[in-house]
Symmetry: C2
Subunit: 738 residues, 2 copies
């Protein structure tokens, strides 16, 4: 059985890694597919445009070369001055035309890579977001005072609060709503478990080493960087060469170590820092290894995903659920991947929080009783066929996608819908989010179907949630390795008659014929599948003897009619025993949060118009702090009211912050807008106060006693800001606001 786990727990580009080495029929000659792997919302139109521009550029260059030759010839032959001038003018005109095509190409490339916005403006936007996040301690590079460790980040106070809000909502939206069985397993995992799952053998990236310094790089990253750089900056590239490089980018994840190594050699790629030659690529296991106990003989790993903890507990969980299917188990926890050279900031880290669901279901019935709750939802979907034919993601109705078979089954569809609701309620922009189906070569051979929730960010489309129907693979793998049957039973209300294949090797005859090899021949006969067995039965009856391949012996043997009896018998069965299928939505919490930061960030001019102010437009659900309390001026009476308000907010369970610095109200608003605090309470009297909403900057007057409950209702989602505006008088203040 091939290793194909990871294909989707692996939201997180893991899939990119382990998958398709087994699918190398998609060779380097395969046509370009999957624009998603290269561009943000790049379309085939942009690609065609680029192609014709490159051809035009090459033509123009050759015209320039010809005209240049003409000019030189005229000059050397001492032609008339006017003739020479005319020829030079023509040459310059050609050069201008070339420059114009070059800038068109530049625009086309930026368009393909950035959904319209240029690469530079995306970088600038990202820098603005990241600067704000770091300055306000949403996150902190870990161990900063010791110069940090690549790929490790701390959540600072507001980031930690956002994370805890996202996780609470996840529990509410999935675990509580669906009555899931939540478990909490250790990160330290013994080798035997990760051998069964395949991670010990196959959870690898291909690595190259600087042959002189020993510095390590991811082989595919170097090749990818080379191709992208060439495509973006080398305008002399022929259309054919450009197509070749793009093809490499498209199939990058499918390349074997040998293929990668050959390309690196062919293109003369060297170590980025030193320009030294590179070693051949070889696999590096991405798990953090350790040793359990003091003896040094029990290897263990930090888990690369949380799912295995659920699979190994299937039997107990099934029992806990009253031996009934379907049911789902869930786990939130840390996972670890020892990346070779982490890049992309918060998106590719060495330790991260996963939230995973394993929904166990009878493979014969993948309907879902609550599917109708989500069937009417419409959102961007990107089915496999549309990717291959070069179309864009488009809005589909979920119910139709399931009924047409685009999505394999109702349960998978139900989770896609629930994930859509989860992400949009957090504040992810529904127009910059899509569900992309895995291509055939991305998907494990056992998987029934697999969709990634991808969110568009300045880094491109990012896999944030993987939703896969993994069939029975994981439970079977652990059943085999542990010898504990991880199965479910369906008791029949009355016994059913079933036709069963019965193979009875005749040991005496086999012993005479095969002596020491008897056992292996017997086992091979017993292991025959129905089709093979029935063919043998027919052959034995017609010919009396057949050739039979015994793989444990590595050779064919001759089986005679008297050595085995094969028949079909009718048996009564009282129950059906089967390995459940598992449908697995797997959430990369850190990635979702980072995309949420980008989707929530905007700037607006200050009142004086002299600077741009940053705002995070978090919904109250995820806002790190729900409201701030400011006394308008430094004044004991107002401060007392502020402290009173603080007490009532604490009692109502609302996280808040008092700011009694003497700074101007405008500056204080700006400070809290930058933290994404949705409401600000300004104490400007002892009986009533103003409440200001962050994005509209609307203010209302509310009695001191009522403020906490008003804020609580809005932050809990029981009422909206529009409701508040209807209930309380609008306040327009001269003293306040920026």
């Amino acid at each position: 059985m091939r290793f194909v786990r990871a294909l989707n727990t692996c939201a997180f580009s893991l899939c990119r890694r382990v998958i398709s080495k087994h699918f190398l029929h998609c060779s380097l000659l395969k046509p370009y597919i999957g624009a998603h792997q290269f561009s943000v919302s790049g379309t085939m139109a942009a690609v065609a445009d680029e192609d014709s521009l490159r051809r035009a550029l090459a033509q123009k260059q050759s015209s320039i070369d010809v005209q240049g030759g003409t000019v030189r010839q005229l000059k050397s032959s001492g032609a008339a001055k006017l003739d020479i001038e005319a020829a030079v003018q023509a040459l310059n005109a050609l050069k201008l035309e070339k420059a114009s095509i070059e800038s068109q190409l530049q625009v086309a490339l930026a368009g393909a890579a950035g959904g319209g916005s240029s690469s530079a403006s995306r970088d600038a936007f990202r820098q603005a977001v990241v600067n704000t996040l770091e300055r306000r301690l949403f996150y902190i590079p870990s161990f900063k005072i010791y110069r940090g460790v690549a790929g490790l980040y701390d959540y600072g106070p507001p980031g930690c609060s956002v994370k805890s809000n996202v996780l609470s909502f996840w529990r509410q939206h999935f675990v509580l709503e669906e009555n899931m069985l939540e478990v909490d397993c250790p990160c330290v995992t013994p080798e035997v478990v990760l051998k069964a799952s395949g991670h010990v053998e196959k959870f690898t990236d291909l690595m190259v080493k600087d042959e002189k310094t020993g510095t390590c790089y991811r082989a595919d990253h170097l090749l990818k960087d080379f191709c992208k750089e060439k495509l973006e900056k080398d305008f002399s590239l022929s259309a054919e060469k450009a197509a070749e490089l793009k093809h490499i980018l498209a199939v990058l994840d499918d390349l074997s170590a040998e293929q990668l190594g050959a390309k690196i050699k062919e293109y003369g790629i060297t170590a980025p820092d030193t320009k030294n030659p590179l070693s051949d690529p070889y696999p590096f296991n991405l798990m953090f290894q350790t040793s359990i106990g003091p003896s040094g003989v029990s290897p263990g790993y930090m888990r690369p995903e949380t799912a295995q903890g659920i699979f190994v507990n299937f039997r107990d969980l099934y029992y806990y659920n009253g031996n009934k299917l379907p049911f789902a188990a869930a786990q939130i926890g840390q996972a670890f991947r020892n990346e070779i050279s982490p890049r992309q900031g918060l998106l590719r880290v060495r330790e991260f929080t996963l939230a995973e669901i394993e929904h166990f279901v009878d493979p014969q019935d993948k309907s879902h009783p609550k599917f109708s709750d989500v069937a009417k939802l419409e959102f961007l979907m990107f089915p496999r066929d549309d990717q291959v034919s070069g179309q864009c993601a488009k809005k589909l109705q979920l119910g139709e996608a399931v009924s047409r078979g685009t999505v394999n089954n109702e349960t998978l569809g139900y989770f896609i819908g629930r994930v859509y609701l989860f992400l949009t309620r957090l504040g992810i922009d529904k127009d910059r989010m899509r569900f992309r189906q895995h291509l055939a070569n991305e998907m494990a051979h056992y998987a029934a179907d697999c969709w990634d929730a991808e969110i568009e960010s300045s880094y491109g489309w990012i896999e944030c949630v993987g939703i896969a129907d993994r069939s029975a693979y994981d439970l079977r793998a652990h059943s085999e390795k542990s010898s504990v049957a991880l199965v479910a039973q369906e008791k029949f209300s009355e016994p059913r008659e079933v036709e069963k294949l019965v193979i009875t090797p005749i040991k005496k005859e086999l012993g005479l014929a095969f002596k020491g090899n008897q056992k292996m021949v017997t086992e091979a006969l017993e292991a025959m599948e129905e089709k093979v067995a029935m063919e043998m039965k027919a052959d034995l009856e017609s010919k009396g003897e057949v050739e039979f391949h015994v793989c444990t012996l590595g050779k064919n043997v001759s089986i005679k009619k008297n050595m085995v009896s094969i028949s079909k018998e009718i048996k009564k069965e009282h129950q059906r025993v089967f390995t459940p299928s598992v449908i697995e939505p797997s959430f990369g919490i850190g990635r979702i949060i980072y995309c949420l930061y980008e989707h929530s960030f905007y700037t607006r001019p200050s009142k004086a118009g002299d600077e741009q102010l940053n705002v995070f437009s978090f919904p109250p659900l995820v806002a790190p702090i729900k409201c701030t309390v400011f006394p308008l001026v430094q004044n004991q009476k107002y401060e007392e009211v502020a402290k009173l308000l603080s007490k009532s907010l604490t009692a109502a369970g609302i996280s808040h912050k008092i700011d009694i610095t003497g700074t101007s109200i405008g500056k204080r608003y700006a400070r809290t807008d930058e933290l994404g605090v949705p409401f600000a309470i300004t104490v400007d009297s002892t009986s009533s106060v103003t409440v200001r909403e962050r994005d509209s900057k609307d203010q209302v007057r509310v009695d001191v006693e009522k403020v906490a409950s008003v804020v609580r209702e809005v932050t809990d989602g029981l009422s909206s800001w529009a409701d508040v505006l209807k209930m309380y008088p609008l306040h327009s203040s001269e003293t306040a606001e920026e």
Copy 2:
């Protein structure tokens, strides 16, 4: 600087480990102190009792020996039958008296070890609790289908839910209430950080190996087991020998490798499994080691505590708090300790959840503005002096304990009070909980004061929370190693005049006198403390020359008057720069939860009286499921009402479970009582239902529409069951109840 971290983050017996090797003035000859280290609530009275019984036993034995001799002599000298009979009778009487003393000793030993209950009954109680916990999947030995790994446990569905409730409440009670800055740092930690904290060098246990099989044991455990076994089962032990063994138990944690090894040899202790000889004890580092990145040159560890992540971020957090003290940072997360041979089930594990607070405060002002909120609390405290003088823990008022100096300062006292409130609100029995002050030899030399919240369980008194004033130690250690100043500033409203020591070595003269050694002499002069420098100044003025020890040279040199100028100058200072003190409450969440299980568990007879039923009396706050919904009989109408109720409970955010099996209501109640579900709703009509409270078994009738809000109010703590009883009619049903 000595290593002394761990002394209290180390709630969790870590302190037992690293501490007092530096305090070995408390040698083996030290008198017996600290009953806590040996017994559950063992008092000096019990100890005295045991002592006199052992002496009586020895006397009785020698009387028996004498009398036995007399009998033998009478027999061999052919004495009169009557005389022999009388002597034998006397002998038998002595033997009976001895047996009676033995059983008294047995009772005394059980009393000392078990707070009155016998060791057997404690084991039986624990077994009942643990059986229920495992059967109902509160926890599961991790990777069970692969025969598990010692010291690793999963939280199954109800356990996971209890844990998540405890952590939510912790956030509410500490983080939100105190406006703490919560952070979330990675578990993977580079070596440099744990070198600075001292863990790389000193976070060890002493280990011995079976010399033939290589099996590893904790050296102190083997010695402890030997002593306990002897004391409990060997009645021939002399009172002197018993005192010696008890003394070893008392100072066990202070023994050096050499001392432990000597005792193991002296007592002939061998490997428990094989009886093979043991190696000498040697230190084993308890951190799980790994390697960060692919190069293999960056060692890392899985963090043994979460505190370091906060310390290294001090500078950013201080800035985030507006450069103001005091403030507290908090972190919840996994910690890892590669125990040599984990015992005590859920109490000593290799991976666990810590919740730690680091409260940073000006060392010159440790008052707390909210101390008055907790000053009136009264609970069991066990100050150092009472432990040494052999008294019991007794009820003290917190305010008095602080004002009398028993507790070092208000901030420490405030946290002790808040921890008390936290634990009791979770459901910890206040009478089986105490705050024990660390003894002088348990405490780090820099620590100002340290108290453990200990909870009594079947294993004895368990440290569950450590609350320590660690002074400036941690921040100083990281300042030194990282060269980043982790300090706070107090800006003076107006500049202050300060007398400052100024030492100016005269380089020219020093150069002439010491040539190559000049630099070291200069540095040694500059490093002089005030007292030393002023003495030198006086000596130079009176004698013109002094002997001065330069430790970097390892010898004395002669310093003349013209080689250094020492003076005191008045300087103006605008601010004070200082390293804050840190007060650290550190919670072992898993230990608290286990103790909560024991404190919540009880049994009661079934209605038929034929069996004992298990109940967990969790308060609604921590109950894994808040209520269950049962249709009284299997009937479509009732099931529909049940489903409707389920929807409204979900909307109200109340975790619940529907049980529509046909089992009797009594059995269904028993099942949910065993999970600690506080309320059960039985649907026995379509308009109103009965709500039953778990412990009283009282039932009330509530309208279907009102049920969710009634249950929500009680589980949220907004009203009590008593309030519900007042509002709704009591229901007495013939059909229901066990």
